[in-house]
């Protein structure tokens, strides 16, 4: 709101680009993390390109926090690339942290919050990792020096490396051959003075004494070859060393052909970075726009339904409308396909969503001291974007819990005969056509049910479901102080609420001493639901047809009112339906509203073996609607799953009849036994 118009315009473009680059950076870091012992030329190259472009883009937007982080990371990666083409393991941690810090700042920017400057300790860590002498295996490069083999062969690997670096920096490599003679010695030039003369103007990489046949020019049978790295010209160096210029020769060097060339961009990212047309065919979009498109489609579908009804009426009057009917049918298919396509657009691959997880676990290694490996095996499973957004924080919390509380410290694990490194596995499978099961399995110590019960002041649970109930009690924490990792973010109670709100489930399988398994069941699509529209008290409502067993007329003769004694509370009505007796309640009353008295129909709802009949005014039809969950706490009430648009622009409430039934069952189960 306080940003200038120009920045706002570019902000969306920037966010889209930044997201993509961050994705690549995270992906490449994850790839390196998976196989640290391999060479990662390609990953490092991509990291450099992404970091460099991101830096340029952030620079154009004036976001110093991101520029500084990207720059420090780029320097580190470049240094690694140069020296070995491998990233030393200790360089990975600050890079992962840096990626996380940049992600946080992008998020802040997207939320319209201030972007904090880059944290000094992290910048320092990145710098240190870049400056530290390179460790690791032999450098890939084998410089070919234009030197006599007798000299070249004697150079050590690190000396060659030093020469290589110097050449890259633009220094020259020079060979000085000094033959000591009595005449030179008398003139005051010895090997010592030569070295002293060279020293201020370059670095003497190696001094090689060589034996040679005694001649008049070399009576000592000895000469010296000095390999020097310097910025001076041959003539200048000769003068400094007080040797004959003919004794000084510049050494050429050629790099082997297979060294990958570093692609350098010229200066900061140019405006081409914003050129949408040349990007891969990827479009970033606001999910709200997709939802709007789906709603428009619903409105079209509604219109068609009305059209069909009209056609029906006219046909009843005797008109031959077969051709018209055929046209309507033809239209149905492409509309259905459009609906499927739009729904498909909302799906994201679970693997991409979970990509940052191994990096998060890696970060936890430092704060918890636990060695944990995370493997993600979810195949090609996809899920709805809004579901993914809500499930991800839940998954992160569970993984954090597993590392923090589940996996034991290396000594404890050793004493239990377990490998020192803990293993957390994330897997996904379809448990049905409409749901996805995401399981997090750890090989830690499991949950100590007795300790948990003690802490909560509750009796020891008899099964895992009971244990989970205690763990998901709001405010419950299994440590005296929340640890720095799991204390942050959401708690298990919110995880359960999230899954409930999504219409999914949370399960726990506890194996004391062996580990735990948490299972999240998520609907593949929360979005579109097949629903009945009906009226109750002049208000229109929707309810998913899945829970509705039947819709019946309420014959007054079929209603029974069992006599109730004093103090037994509200009278319960029962409805005879095909030999069964089902509790009957006005839907309005179930919602806490006053019933109208004009409720001749009833919807019979089944939930977990219990059946309830809700009386309503009349049925309006059946529609496929896009359900929008009621996010805000002000309007979150039990019994209402969300809202949908029936084509008139006014939100229509979508009821959670199963939930309502559950609450009623609790209240009345004692009284109504079939």
């Amino acid at each position: 709101m306080t940003q200038s118009v120009d920045v706002q315009e570019f902000l969306q473009g920037f966010l889209g680009e930044a997201d993509e680059h961050l994705g690549r950076i995270t992906g490449n870091l994850a790839a390196i993390e998976r196989e640290p012992s391999h060479a990662h030329g390609r990953e490092l190259g991509e990291l450099l390109r992404s970091l460099h472009t991101l830096k340029g883009l952030a620079g154009m937007m004036g976001i110093d926090g991101i520029v500084d982080l990207a720059h420090a990371m780029e320097t580190l990666v470049r240094a690694a690339e140069r020296s070995h083409g491998r990233l030393p393991p200790r360089a990975l941690d600050p890079l992962v942290e840096g990626a996380g810090a940049i992600t946080q700042r992008i998020r802040a920017l997207a939320d319209g919050l201030a972007v904090p400057p880059a944290p000094e300790p992290l910048l320092a860590a990145l710098e240190r990792a870049a400056d530290a002498p390179s460790e690791g295996p032999e450098p890939r490069r084998a410089l070919q020096l234009d030197l006599d083999p007798s000299i070249a062969d004697k150079l050590t690997a690190s000396e060659r490396e030093e020469i290589g670096r110097a050449l890259e920096h633009g220094d020259a490599v020079v060979l000085v051959e000094f033959v000591p003679t009595p005449a030179k010695a008398e003139a005051g030039t010895t090997i010592t003075t030569v070295r002293a003369g060279i020293a201020p103007h370059g670095r003497i990489v190696r001094v090689l004494p060589r034996s040679r046949p005694r001649t008049e020019d070399a009576p000592g049978g000895l000469d010296f070859a000095l390999v020097v790295v310097t910025r001076l010209s041959v003539a200048e160096l000769a003068a400094a060393a007080r040797v004959d210029p003919s004794d000084v020769r510049r050494i050429g060097a050629t790099e082997p052909v297979d060294t990958p060339a570093l692609v350098e961009s010229v200066g900061p990212a140019d405006e081409g970075a914003f050129d949408r047309a040349s990007r891969k065919g990827v479009v970033r979009m606001d999910v709200a726009k997709l939802d709007a498109a789906l709603e428009h489609l619903s409105a079209i579908a509604l219109g068609r339904a009305r059209l069909r009804e009209e056609v029906q009426r006219l046909a009843a009057d005797g008109l031959d409308l077969r051709r018209l009917r055929a046209m309507l049918d033809d239209e149905a298919r492409p509309l259905r396909r459009m609906r499927e396509t739009l729904l498909g657009l909302r799906m994201v691959p679970l693997r991409e969503v979970l990509e940052p997880l191994p990096l998060i676990v890696r970060g936890l290694r430092n704060t918890t001291g636990k060695h944990v490996r995370l493997s993600v095996d979810v195949g090609t499973a996809e899920l709805d974007k809004t579901v993914a957004e809500r499930v991800f924080p839940a998954l992160v919390h569970i993984v954090r819990n597993a590392v923090d509380h589940g996996i034991e410290s290396p000594d404890v694990r050793a004493s239990r005969g377990k490998p020192p490194e803990g293993h957390v596995r994330v897997e996904a499978s379809s448990s049905s056509a409409a749901t996805l099961d995401i399981t997090i399995v750890d090989d830690g110590g499991g949950v100590d049910a007795a300790a948990v019960a003690r802490r909560a002041g509750k009796p020891v649970p008899s099964d895992d479901a009971g244990l989970l109930d205690i763990l998901t009690t709001p405010g419950f924490s299994s440590r005296d102080e929340t640890t720095t990792t799991s204390g942050r973010g959401i708690g298990l109670d919110i995880v359960r609420q999230t899954m409930d709100a999504l219409g999914g489930a949370l399960e726990l399988e506890n194996r004391p001493g062996q580990g735990t398994t948490m299972r999240l069941r998520a609907p593949l699509t929360v979005a579109i639901v097949d629903a009945f529209a009906f009226e109750a008290g002049r208000e229109r409502y929707l309810a998913p047809i899945g829970v509705v067993d039947a819709i019946v007329e309420v014959e007054p003769s079929a209603v029974v009112r069992p006599p109730r004694g004093p103090g037994e509370g509200q009278p319960i009505e029962l409805l005879h339906v095909r030999g069964d007796v089902i509790p009957l309640v006005s839907l309005r009353r179930a919602l806490g509203l006053a019933p109208t008295g004009d409720e001749p129909k009833a919807m019979i709802v089944r939930r977990a073996g219990h059946r309830f009949a809700f009386t309503i005014e009349r049925m309006l039809g059946r529609h496929e609607v896009l359900v929008r969950p009621l996010g805000d706490p002000l309007v979150r009430v039990p019994g209402v799953a969300g809202s949908a648009d029936l084509g008139d622009g006014r939100p229509t409430l979508v009821l959670d009849l199963a939930g309502l039934t559950g609450r009623l069952v609790e209240r009345t189960s004692a009284e109504v036994q079939p």
Binding site: A288, D632, V637
Partner: protein, 147 residues
Amino acid sequence: MSAVDVLHVVFKVGETDYVLPASTVLEMESFSGVTHVPGTATHVAGLVHIRGRVIPLVDLRARFGLGPVERSLDQRVVVVDHHGRRIGLLVDAAREVAKIEQGAFDRPPDIVVERAAGFVKAVARVGPRLVMLLDCERVLAQEQGDG
């Protein structure tokens, strides 16, 4: 004391003028009905559909204990951003904006505090009028649903 002029949106609830910083106001729309949600607090009118989003609507008349009025064309929904939540405030009218100096706000006098039950953060003079700076935190505070 700062001399920075901050743009505020001015709206009416009952006979009183209230203001909110324009930076917190996302949009202002005419009011064309609301879907009641059973089980919410009395001042939560329900859900409204505004520019592609479905958001909760808080009836400020109800919040301030004023009786309901007949629907009028002057009524507006003022959509505010409250810690990332989009919430609509139903007001009787919203026609003006005003630049108010940051330092011009004073503590509300006791009589105001009493009537508005703490929903007013501060007061300021705009010309001859006294305007109340709305305390969104208090207005939107969660209480258990009371029907």
